[in-house]
Amino acid sequence: MANGTIAVPKKAAEPDFYHVRTKHTGIWSWLLTTDHKRIGLMYLSAMTFFFLAAMTLGVLMRLEMLTPGETIMTAQTYNSFFTLHGVIMIFLFIIPGIGAVFGNFILPIQLGAKDVQFPKLNLMSWYLYMIGGILALFSLFIGTGIADTGWTFYAPYSIRTTTNVSISVFAAFILGFSSILTGLNFLTTIHRLRCPGMTWFRMPLFVWAIYATAWIQVLATPIIGITLLLVILERAFGIGVFDPTLGGDPLLYQHLFWIYSHPAVYIMILPAMGVVSEIIPTFAKKPIFGYVPIAISSLAIALVGYLVWGHHMFSSGISDTSRVIFSLLTFIVALPSGIKVFNWVATLYKGSIEVTAPMLYTLLFIFIFSIGGLTGLTLGALNTDLHLTDTYYVVAHFHYVMFGGMGLIFFASIHYWFPKFYGKMYNEKVAKIAAYWIAIGFNTLYFPMFIMGYLGMPRRYYDYLPEYQIWHVISTVGSWILVSGILIMVFNLVKGIRSGKPTTANPWGGTTLEWTVPSPPPLENFDVIPTVTTGPYDHTKLHQQLRKEYKDQQKTEEGKN
């Protein structure tokens, strides 16, 4: 039962959004839809495909690293694999990720709205996403072979290599527009479509996180857009912005790239943090610890995230003064993220905790993401970074924060909102086994990379000295464990979609508005737009009920004695 909202009168048997009659039927009811829920699901299917493709590339790369020298592929293939793997994972999975799927499906309902502010623009963003994604994959099959620059496209190598860099860069450029338009849509939706009573500080923290993210998407993405366009122009016409032989400056490229790409790491992680702030109160059955500080810190992170891009360039030859400033700021900016972790753990204190599948993923996230965040400190530190940067230490660090952070929470989100999406339930036991399996595989795969990195193994290396082999072997075995865990998870979810047990509107006892509507929701979510009278995590009614149940139970036990 939802608390804190006036009960929503439900008409009987209104068809859900899958079954309602719309203008178009069949495949067109999807491809021409403007329903935020369908668009969210279309992102989910496309993203699942891209993720599995990039995961396959990752596993093949790990197989190559099993032995020194050639194992299964040539150096050129390896170089294009890590490029494509990086491009897909960054631009098609983690940057859009949680916002495009769960932001689209859940955010309007959490606000008490019927859809986003600009539904048609929303569909267009999905098409831009698909065009960008297909272009990125397409570069595999045409022209001079897939880009071999790494996902960072550093000049002047990206200017000079003969591979299909322009296509990959153009794909990223188009994906940027998709991101900007999605951000714009969420911003206006949050400003204009909040239901009566939904004041700013009654918004769920997921909405706050998407709000902060959307500002970064709108303000930072144009920078990468113009930068990528300049790379294309430089390749085509030799305009000489980045290539020193043409009078350009390679460091200018790095500055422009990271002025976007550092804030972009917050595009990746903030929505995930928002989801964590939803899941933990639901399964601890109490309000989040420190609602206002968490909400404000999302905005603060979005703002100061702009000031630390230089920590990606400590070895590039930027001045000593700027290195010192960037390092200091990096340490300061790390704080709000760390404090959020404290808030989540504190929320567990004196809760009544139920470790369901989504909660299990979330708890594993707290452990893994903490490792990722804490190892970032040695990369923000001035002297240790000069040893560790561009080694496997960095590869380990960013997989821990990005995959362990956003990736695991993406999995948690699917398990959390699955009943709302499909009106059915997956097998909880299998989901939990998969979660443990993924966590074991994850750490076996990536932890050895910290050790290798500290021992001096550079990243983006096709070949390596025999002394590193032991760590590579462990890591590769880890990739097999991880992938089997992911496959178990995917099969379990697919089976749940097909033949899962029907579920109710609010199977978890969540307190936000999406749990007041049926699962799956009707086309326009609400028959009557709700009115909100309390904060998002108001558990008072639930607590009263639990207290009463507890007393009744004690009475019956006393009676027995």
Partner: protein
């Protein structure tokens, strides 16, 4: 005597990571304890706690102090790294796809880096083509080789032995094969080598350098992280053999 850069990097690394491990254990232990102690079974009725200003102030202030301390120790090490001793000899390093060239103060060039023992050495690093990064894992330092610009760092050759340089900024096909051996030899031997060495012992066509298989990466010491040379490896590889090694590179 300046403090050793290698030592400073390692100490900073373990201080920061030591504190981090403590924090991680703390967070994880608290989380597991709460999940256990306040499980639905053991604690059916939750308490309504929405926040606590005191504890929130504490867990803001304490981490600020911790990270400022971390910043401070890494900054102190960094200052030492960037402040090149006045007596340092200079070696010019040029990266290109896919090899390193070293130019000594007598304008001689070589693709093996021979260095006198117990000296401060400053590297002036640049690139002929794309970005590279001149990385000396055993000395815990790197700096990018940027075309059209010059970067630097310095090391002290405190130990005799064979080490290696490699490339840490992705630079294309043979990025993972850009090893260059570093021989730290007694100073008198170094002088002899420098004086008898032909003006240019580098291989001309770098693109033709066949990717070395890792097992015989010309003189690369494979137990790379024992930064000090093992004493026996010093006796095994006499400076004379190092000179011969450079000669063979000429062919």
């Amino acid at each position: 005597m300046r403090p050793s850069i290698i030592n400073e990097v390692d100490v900073t690394f373990w201080i920061i990571n030591g504190i981090s491990i403590l924090l991680l254990l703390l967070i994880t232990a608290a989380m597991l304890y709460f999940v256990f102690k306040y499980s639905k079974k053991r604690n059916p009725v939750p308490e309504n706690i929405e926040g606590n200003t005191t504890i929130e102030v504490i867990w803001t202030i304490v981490p600020i102090i911790i990270v400022l301390y971390m910043f401070y120790i890494s900054w102190a090490g960094f200052v030492n790294m960037r402040d090149v001793p006045k007596d340092a000899m200079v070696v010019k390093v040029t990266g290109q796809m896919w090899k390193w060239t070293f130019e000594y103060d007598n304008q001689k060039k070589s693709d093996t880096l021979n260095l006198p023992h117990n000296k401060n050495v400053k590297f002036e690093i640049t690139s002929q083509d794309v970005l590279h990064s001149f990385y000396l894992p055993q000395f815990r330092v790197k700096e990018d080789a940027v075309p059209g610009a010059q970067n630097y760092f310095w090391i002290r050759t405190a130990e005799l032995g064979t080490f290696y340089a490699t490339c840490a900024e992705y630079c294309g096909l043979n990025h993972s094969f850009m090893y260059a051996p570093i021989n730290v030899i007694p100073e008198d031997q170094y002088e002899i080598w420098k004086n008898i060495m032909p003006a240019d012992t580098t291989k001309q066509d770098s693109a033709m350098v066949t990717p070395v298989t890792t097992s015989d990466t010309a003189g690369v010491k494979t137990d790379s992280l024992n930064s000090g040379a093992k004493k026996d490896s010093v006796t095994k590889e006499t400076p004379a053999s190092d000179i011969k090694q450079t000669d063979t590179l000429k062919k």
